[in-house]
Point group: C2
Chain length 295, copies 2
């Protein structure tokens, strides 16, 4: 590329699927000069270095943040407060920070606590590009292509900071949507966090049976799709469930009520109620399925 990159130095905390793909995408777009990676596992960081995902393994978070143009925090959300606390005192005045967390209210609360007046420099984001494969080995430059990225800008954010972070995610190929942190958490509790919980619950319930082999032997394609997300990262999902626990509990209770209704219909042999529920669900699922080929 003849034009100079939009970002000089990018620092990534958590070089996994999201962090690694963000770095690869900005590199592929020629929009970053240098990528420095931090993480808990040296072998993961070495792998990231060997794959060209990062250019250097970071040693001192404060020092690297000082002259960074852009910082991405892409660790499980449970680790974010500690990282925010560590980098806050060293944050350069022109450094902007974003994240890839699957929950937003908790992240925003931690940012306000640790960043204080520098909260203006943090623009929260959530790229909707999860996969049951995690880790830097699964990272790829096109992960965010045509994927939604939800922004939850803060009242503290100057327009310019939002625009710069937005531009970074757009260079990655993402389509930007805006919600408030609370809206974000309510919506994702319903369409992502609850389904994960339900899939984990079903597989766990079968796995701990004495004769679980018999069951798994006859499980077929419907089961495979339904439970695909039960192969997701346990620690990451523990963090998400805890971080978004208020909204998730609301959704879980609504769902438990729904199951209670189905239990009643089943007990009393009420085929009419069952068929009506199935019919509404099928209609909605088909309408959604045809409208979202890229989701």
């Amino acid at each position: 590329m003849s034009s100079s990159p939009e970002f000089g130095k990018l620092v990534v905390f958590g070089v996994g699927l999201i962090g690694g793909s963000f770095a690869l995408a900005l590199k592929a777009a020629g929009q970053v000069e240098e990528v420095v990676g931090f993480g808990r596992s040296l072998s993961t960081l070495t792998q990231a270095l060997n794959r060209g995902v990062i250019d250097r393994i970071g040693v001192n978070p404060g020092q690297e943040t000082l002259d960074a143009d852009l910082v991405l925090i892409a660790t499980p959300v449970g680790q974010m407060p500690e990282i925010l606390a560590r980098i806050a005192p060293y944050l350069g005045t022109d450094t902007i920070v974003t994240d890839g967390g699957s929950t937003k209210s908790d992240v925003v609360a931690a940012v306000r606590e640790h960043f204080g007046v520098r909260t203006r420099q943090f623009v929260p984001a959530h790229p909707i590009a999860g996969a049951e494969n995690s880790g830097v080995a699964a990272a790829r430059a096109d992960l965010f292509q045509h994927k939604k990225v939800v922004f939850t800008p803060l009242p503290e954010n100057p327009v310019l900071n939002v625009a710069r972070v937005r531009s970074a995610w757009e260079w990655c190929g993402g389509e930007i949507f805006e919600l408030t942190p609370e809206e974000h958490d309510r919506v994702f509790a319903a369409v992502s966090h609850l389904p994960h919980l339900l899939a984990f619950a079903l597989v766990h319930e079968l796995a701990v049976r004495e004769n679980s082999e018999l069951y798994f032997n006859f499980a077929a394609s419907g089961f495979r799709d339904f439970t695909r997300i039960a192969a997701s990262h346990p620690e990451m999902w523990r963090d998400i469930c805890l971080a978004n626990r208020a909204a998730l509990l609301v959704e879980l209770e609504r769902y438990q009520e729904q199951l209670g209704g189905l239990h009643d219909a089943l007990s009393s042999g009420d085929g009419e109620v069952l068929e009506k529920i199935f019919d509404v669900a099928r209609g909605a699922r088909r309408a959604w399925g045809t409208g979202k080929s890229s989701a």
Copy 2:
């Protein structure tokens, strides 16, 4: 083929995905001379005729059954008792009957009621090859290739009858497994019927919200896979749920208990319990996933 077909005349009740694929598979294997189809919808039967799935549209079930070598009942299970009652008096002495029903105890009970001493001629089967696409348009000759077909032979069945029905399903490409009708219903309540109920419940719960569009707009790939089976045929699944309602209620109640435990862990912020459940589930799901590439 130079050798003569194993079956002369096949009569199919319910020429949909399963019935149509069975006919196409036996034709492709050169193992059937003539296929006669019955169904509730003339347009479906005409479509089946035009696609070469059947050779004739049946008019009189009794008369066609009289000289049939093989009869497949592949309607939703709720319609089977009526069909069994209609053909029972006309059943040829050498005619053997099988079915494609997703539940077995109820079908066996209806067979014994209507067939009496001729129950010996009915060998129950359940091909594990469902898809959310139903109907004869989705039928294809290779649907059962390398798919499991569960047999639940009855004490009344002579070995020869089991062998002949087995051979028909094997010509279709299926791999035969044997369970008792009760074992079958317990296993499929857990790995198939319950997941369908759970997926229908989730999509229904979202679909009836006033702002359901907001939710569906941010639903992504995890949601898509989890809810794929919620696009299944409502009437068929109403029948399955009612037919297998005793076993399904047991599974539903176990699952409700499991969700109750997750609700407690979530309420009290017990991350250790959550992570342990997720971890066991992921381990079991991954072990199953790698062992079953063809499922």
